[in-house]
Amino acid sequence: MHRKDPWIVQKANKFLERFCEPYLLESIQGDLEERYYENQSLKGKRIAKWIYLFQSLGFLRSRFKKRKKYSNFEAMFKNYFTATIRNLTKNKFYASINIFGLAIGMAAGFMILQYVYHELTYDDFHENKENIYRVQTNRYNAGELTTQWAAGAAGAGYHLHENFPEVVDFVNLHGSGVGISYENKYFELESPYYARENFFQVFSIPLIQGVDSLVLKGLYKVVLSESLAKKIFGDENPVGKTILQNDHRDFLVTGVYKDFPKRSHMNFDLLYSFDTYIALSSEEARTEWNWDGFLNYVVLQDGTDPEEFSSKFDQMIQEKVGEEMEQFNAGIEFVLQPLTKIHLISNYRAEIKPTGDETTTYFLLIIGMFVLFIAWINYINLTTARSLSRAKEVGIRKVMGSYRSHLIGQFMFESFFINLIAFSLAALIVFLVFPAFNNFVGNSSAYSWPDAPFFWIGLTAIFFLGILLSGFYPAFVLSNFKPIAVLKGRFAASSSGNILRKSLVTFQFLASVVLITGTFAVYKQMDYLQAQDLGVNIDQNMIIRSPNFRSDSVRNIKDPIFKNRLSNNSSIKGQTRSTAVPGRSADWNAGGIRLITQTDAESNQYRVLGADDQFMDFYGLEVIAGRKFDQSFGAEHENVLFNEEAVAKLGFREIEEALNKKIFFWGDTFNIVGVVKNYRHESPKQAYDAMIFRYMETPNGYYSVNINTENMRESVDQIQADWEAAFGNKIFDFFFLDDYYNEQYESEVKFGSIFGLFAVLAILVACLGLFGLASFITSLRSKEVGVRKVLGASMQQLLVLLTGDFVKLVAISILIAAPISWWLLQNWLDSFDNRISLGVMVFAIPAITIILIAVVTVAFHTFKTARLNPADTLHDE
């Protein structure tokens, strides 16, 4: 430009340059300029420049508009999209199989992931979680591991803190079974505990009222959970009020804490100050080593390696209690459990609440991945199988100048698109069935959607991984076609593709066979356990928890009143009282018991159950040597009964040898008057325990009542009336023994049903894939079928011919799956002391089932094809 134009002209030119088609621009600007030059002399510069502007604006029409530069990407994308949509709508059948299969697979995968995520992230809300460990205690007897406690002696935490600078702080907790009352109202407590004063400083449970460091300091202090505070006090402010523990001890409410999150291995409805506990027992209780009734948590210094640190324990234990241990031929071991792992790795005595199970969780994770993989394999198989019919499309695209990368792009896009639809569908499915699934997996994990971003990032990663996994191979295969061969019609699926497809189908069925065998075996094991002869009668028994009394003397007065009223109650057929009832371990675990003639080193640990003289009859237990308890003999409290297992532990071969032998039990001497036949006190999962029965007139624990079931409601009401007559307004808390007993299987039953559910899903998805594949392959062979029919093949021969290939694959997968499932099941069953043996049937029945499913799936299409009139299939030849 040889001279400077006015600003407006410059702007107008800018606009034109931007807007106009370049090849027109020069002449347009030239014309405008020419006119401007003319106008300048005619009308003046000022007007001329405005005219220039308006005239240039006149070019604001589409004719002059710069054609957008041809965008390769956009066009390609558009084309991919159209091609995908066309391909999907043209093949609705295969498309829906693909999408539906993927959606089910994804939905199953998401739900499992969600469940697993929930299980894996327990206690991760604690701020100092990396440094907090629970001290778990193992007790040994004669070099053998006898008891694993979640808890341990109070001294564990105390001594660790005192001896090692690595332990910055510790908290101990002690369970307290006693109930509370406020203004004559009694409240049932889930798990009341005494807690050391620094509880709220170590654990990240926020206080709504009160100060972290003060609420548990000093005597007779109690802190309530928000929901318990609401239950007791309603809208009143609980702080400063007094609640009554066990009818006679006043506790001052000093604070209220937010309820524990569901994903926590702890859940307390209230905490008493630990100092109170010490004041009520003795100062030694802080440091003692022999009573495993305390949960110990230690806070380690930043950067302490727990492995290395715990290797120092042995020496400390040796110093403190080495001699004593040697005397009893016993041993003690402390194990540090990381706080966040407690839920999964721990399932020991005296857990605060039921823990999860690591194996189950990872098992489920594997199943979830299986279902997803099966769905992806379906996609790969169907797409590559159908590549035959898309070969022409690829050929033409290549002839028209598509690069291979374009074709890969196209098929990856298809994969993305189908995955996206499936993903949305899966999200919908999950959304709809989520509450039911929650319900299904059980009460303990009433969880919500995960809130952590890493979960969602993981999910997205899986989604894209799925696209890559399922899309890459088909894209690779399809884009590899040679256009000339394809368009000339000389095209057949490559044999390598066939082999891969076959191995993928085999893998799918392998996974399905493993799952179905697993499900079958899990059910068989459950069935076996439940059908066991327990040796103990648990039916129609109602169990009432004994009330808490200030002292045994009160119990001794009130107990006979209740007992008498029950005997006069016509709806009751029998009653007994004991410290424990069948269905759980008898928690009284006593060590140091030996024959009076033995040394301390020969002593052993036994489970002890205190019971009255009705217990054996009531539960139908058989005394196979000696006699059962009978008050008429007098001085019965000096006598004990042993079970067979306990007799063996004592070192006798023949049960009769044990009769009338004296045993040493915590400083006292008892006489063995009888031997009880082994029965399943705990669930049949466990081996028999060595048990000692001690006679007690009024044991504190449970009343077992055999009631007339004809009119259940009335009977229960009547018993409650008896209860109130004897114990006033003490909490009347009862349950039915068979339920209680069955609770022990709950986790296995849950595991079984989840396992079964996802196995069914996996099989469904696999069959869906097989269905699609079979329909496609048989349709390809329709001409062959036609020719064979014309030549006289029978329907039967055709069915065998067409299904044969698939059945072969399924058979191979069964052969490979059998040893895998055998190995997995052996491992799983090893966790039971009492288990089924894996017979041929465990493998045969699932195998036959899956072959049947496969045959039916394939035969459906085969039959359709085989029935076609050859005239129709051959007419265009």
């Binding site: 600007q29 405008l32 300029e33 020419e34 005239q55 006149g58 070019f59 004719r63």
Partner: protein, 110 residues
């Protein structure tokens, strides 16, 4: 594209292109129409119609010499193509034919 029909403005511009033979470009055509028909058409309309005619294949364009008044920019010069010629010739014949067919009485005192 609506075939080969010509609009009135298109016809005028084609005629101008013909008149201006070898000197037909935007401004010249605009001036021609202003003088002969006393009609002001904006320069953008001229270009627009020219483009349309080019699409129809009635005129063709080439770049001509640059002049200083145009800031050194070249003109886009238009000439009639043979099909353009044929079209306006046909148009003229058709009109003449129709004129010839009008009875004398119908035109009154013309």
């Amino acid at each position: 594209m609506k075939g080969t029909n010509l609009g009135e403005l298109e016809e005028l511009i084609m005629l101008s292109v013909g008149i201006l033979y070898d000197e037909a470009y935007g401004i010249a055509i605009q001036n021609e129409i202003k003088e002969r028909c006393n009609r002001s058409i904006t320069i953008s309309t001229v270009h627009s119609v020219l483009g349309r005619l080019e699409d129809k294949g009635f005129i063709s364009a080439r770049y001509g010499g640059a002049t200083p008044e145009r800031g050194g920019r070249r003109k886009r010069l238009f000439t009639l193509t043979s099909s353009g010629e044929a079209t306006i010739t046909k148009m003229r014949k058709m009109r003449n034919n129709m004129w010839d067919s009008i009875p004398k009485v119908a035109l009154g005192n013309a």
